[in-house]
Symmetry: C2
DNA sequence: TAGCTAGCTTAGGCGTGCCTAAGACTTGGA
DNA sequence: TCCAAGTCTTAGGCACGCCTAAGCTAGCTA
């Protein structure tokens, strides 16, 4: 039985992408509708149906028309392995090879599927066992555990809040460059002097400077 | 026309493997028979026929039943790019991440297809512009030039020759470990005290020690 | 010169991962 | 209550990269 599980580990890149996306969409706690997955992965709903059937046969998801798809414990494991690879790679590219935080996502998205466990281990050691990636996302342990994050979106901050940037979405490189250009890096401390009103920008005081942060940037930034 | 060439750069992993194999089999100078390629890549001759047809349409090989397949200049370029990636990755894994020379080949074989030009460049810089991989193979420049090697097989050495290990085949990890266990690393100086007779082992003097080198190991080792 | 054989190609087929188009649920509003 | 929309699945098909089996060719040997 555990032999079978081990053999089932021949997951393809595509399968790993579905599992990772499911994980990101919260398919551990609640079922995810196929349409949501289709949008996320930019494939047709029919493709999602196909793939979910395959993943169900492999025992990586459960799939029930009424609710949608959920990860099995094994599926969660594979998903977390990809997340670990992704974030570790991002951290390595930044810390060891001088990448900027807006350059690493696409590279990691490709490499996460083809690094060995040995390489994973060596990068982890070389970085001294990092806990977070360059965007502030936690790196799952080999066992698959993740510290729970308790930060909030910059968008929700009120005037007078004194906070630090703890996390950003790594999806849109342009926005990451813009944040960096405003002086916002991971760990940067600032005070919210003007909260967002009528969908206007937030105003921050940061290193004695006043900085305007457009809504679209505040939405991808998280603080604590 | 150069637009078309640029667009033709969407080569798949499989295509890149064929081009790299062709390069390795000398398809720059002379035509390579499909059967040779099939053996090299461990695929059927029919598969080779299919793929060569595709590569010919892409302008990467010329293919002529009488002689076999040859790389076009563009095809040679793609092949050399893969060789560069492969050797650079091997060098990086050894020098930056503590891999041994017998551990890097498979890892590099997978990664060579999915690293970006940026990552290639960063690894190259991080290593200070290396010229050789951990097996003594030259790393092609971005422009695609390669220093010509003038080493000879250890098998061909005569008693009395005083030489250094300059290159080894990276295909068989077991043999690489065996060479290392005998004290043979890249650059190791030694004297051939007994050449191979009747398919017996060579005998070397190496750091005051006498070492027997089986034919199968001597065959993959090169010296100058 | 007439086979015969080795090597290459063709034909047909399979698994994967994607698509579009068309059917089948489900579900909320009229 | 019943229909219209939205959602999901089924059906059929395509590109890729591989396979086996069957033909073809060309060159060597008898
Ligand atoms: Mn791993
Ligand atoms: Mn990240
Ligand atoms: Mn390159
Ligand atoms: Mn090598």
């Amino acid at each position: 039985m555990s032999k079978l599980t081990a053999l089932a580990r021949h997951t393809s890149s595509a399968q790993e992408d579905y599992l990772k996306a499911l994980y990101g969409l919260g398919a551990v706690e609640a079922a995810v509708p196929p349409s949501r997955l289709a949008r996320e992965l930019d494939v047709s709903p029919a493709s999602v149906t196909d793939m979910l059937a395959k993943l169900a046969v492999l025992g990586l998801v459960t799939h029930d028309r009424a609710h949608g798809a959920r990860l099995t414990p094994t599926g969660r494991g594979v998903a977390l392995e990809m997340v670990r690879h992704h974030r570790l790679l991002e951290a390595y590219l930044v810390q060891a090879l001088g990448y900027r935080w807006d350059e690493v996502h696409d590279e990691a998205d490709r490499l996460e599927h083809c690094i060995s466990e040995v390489l994973e281990q060596r990068m982890f050691q070389a970085l001294g066992g990092p806990s977070f990636d360059p965007h502030g996302d936690p790196i799952p342990s080999t066992r698959g555990s993740l510290p729970r994050e308790h930060d909030r979106c910059l968008l929700a901050c009120k005037a007078g809040d004194r906070v630090r940037l703890s996390r950003v979405s790594d999806r849109e490189p342009e926005k990451l460059r813009a944040l960096r250009a405003l002086g916002l890096e991971l760990g940067t401390a600032f005070e919210v002097v003007g909260e967002s009103r009528w969908e206007g920008p937030l105003e921050l005081r940061l290193n004695q400077r006043l900085v305007q942060v457009p809504l679209g940037l505040a939405r991808i930034a998280f603080v604590h």
